[in-house]
């Protein structure tokens, strides 16, 4: 039961996007999100949607995966859509019932917001689907390294994230074992209402937490024994290196931005 949980939903592969430097992917995703907000017309959104779908197709990730990621956010997307629909004013009035007035401007803005949110989710999903969690952590650490000057603990955060990733499967295994041990003694995790089930989890969580603390202590000792003393003076075996494809990605993103600005100017639709 616990084995089914995957984190980050990394989808291994060897496509062009998979091989990009994690920093490039992080920056490109941020840039893409910015571009989504630059776009001021449906022609721009169409272009961006086309770009995201083309990227997804090139990685060999099924569109189904991307769409599945939208599901948990469907409510928020719908909510902003309706909010914009009802509260934006201006333009010609399309429908007017009682105090509810839907204007052409409202419809337009609502469509924009929904499109933006969907594109936002899809592009960030593309990042997590094509980048292994550990590469992502490395990328974040290097990107945030300049901020260490002002005291931002970039190394510590990255180390914490990678240790968390390392221990997720271990703790899952342990939770599974504890669960089986307690089931063998008659514990019931599956029946009853929400509250009864939540209560049944307490005897599972207590030993799990105690175990996690014990592990943390031992791990700290083991790290000490191997001369760990924080990020200072530390080197890395795997050095992140920008390559030709990273430059190419930067060009593609720049071209995309130019195209979106151009479409805004043309004011097509």
């Amino acid at each position: 039961m616990l084995k089914n949980i995957t984190l980050g939903q990394y989808f291994p592969g060897n496509s062009l996007i998979h091989r990009l430097d994690p920093r490039t992917k992080l920056l490109a995703t941020i840039a893409l999100i910015a571009i989504v907000f630059v776009a001021q017309g449906f022609s721009g959104f169409l272009l961006l949607a086309g770009f995201v779908v083309a990227c997804a197709a090139s990685t060999g990730i099924h569109l189904k995966f991307l769409v599945r990621g939208l599901k948990p956010l469907m409510f928020i997307i719908l909510f902003t859509f309706i909010l914009n629909l009802f509260f934006q004013t201006g333009g010609t009035v399309l429908i007017s019932i009682w105090i509810i007035r839907i204007t052409s401007n409202g419809l337009r803005m609502a469509g924009f917001m929904a499109a933006r949110l969907i594109l936002l989710v899809l592009s960030s999903q593309l990042l997590t689907l094509t980048t292994s969690p550990i590469a992502l952590t490395d990328g974040l650490e290097t990107l945030f390294r300049p901020l260490q000057v002002i005291g931002f603990p970039a190394h510590e955060i990255a180390m914490m994230m990678s240790i968390a990733l390392r221990f997720i499967p271990t703790l899952m295994d342990e939770a599974d074992k504890i669960m089986k041990a307690q089931k063998a003694r008659g514990a019931d995790f599956e029946t009853g209402g929400l509250i009864a089930r939540a209560k049944a989890m307490v005897p599972l969580l207590v030993p799990l937490f105690v175990g996690a603390f014990r592990r943390a202590e031992e791990l700290a000792l083991a790290m000490d024994a191997r001369c760990y003393r924080g990020g200072k003076g530390r080197t890395r075996m795997k050095q992140l290196k920008f390559q030709g494809i990273d430059g190419l990605a930067a060009l593609v993103i720049a071209a995309l931005l130019a195209a979106v600005i151009l479409l805004n100017r043309l004011n097509l639709f």
């Binding site: 271990t170 031992e218 080197t235 075996m237």
Partner: protein, 277 residues
Amino acid sequence: MRDKIIQAQNVSFQYEDGAAPAVDDITFTVDRGEFLAVLGRNGSGKSTLAKLLNALLLPTAGELTVDGLRAVTEDDCYEVRKSCGMVFQNPDNQIVTTIVEEDCAFGLENLGTPPEEIRWRVKAALSDVGMSEYAEASPSMLSGGQKQRVAVAGVLAMRPKIIVFDESTAMLDPIGRRDIFAIAQRLNKEEGITVVWITHFMEEAALADRVIVMDAGKIALEGTPKQVFSQTDRVLALGLDVPGMMKLADRLRKAGLPLKEGVMTVNEMVVELCRLK
């Protein structure tokens, strides 16, 4: 005379909340290149001793010199840890990263070694423990024995002169246990690394150059495995077992057979019994 890589002079250690000292006024030396086994029941102070050797704990009294270094300042501690590596009991709790080769690199990264050097030292260390083909694997997919081999490689990459194995085989299956012990023996014989092997298993201790038996923080018995295990009654009184063949020899001797002292392995027993015919 071989030089002493570890010298302990009246070393004591007391935990802050402990009533009795965990290690109580012990004096011993370890030769360079020696394979020393440390035995003792739970709570006898073996693990505390291991942590003292690695400067994870500092003696509360006495003098401990490891590879010519005495840990006083924090920097000394790192120097000691560099020359004295440690493999712990639980393989799960000493692997830091999600990829085998990166875990091997962890110690070297901490020391600030240049990336290219880390790369080839990690490669060498992994091939040394026979884990090259798992370099890119995730530790969570490995068996206990394999994880422990990775842990050994991680220590090995740092090129220590001493490796302390703190009950490193206690949680492994028999095959994993045999593997790790064989690796430790090979590193000791072929690469001249001094091994301090802390264990519960008499069969392992029987193959060491020398055995120290600890009890209540003190050294209760010391000597070659033959010298130690031939004192069957003492060893049993210390809450330990003796290797099966020694026990058998002891009982046969008590039953009146004139077996010579120090029969430890099945082969020696066969030779000895055939001699009687």
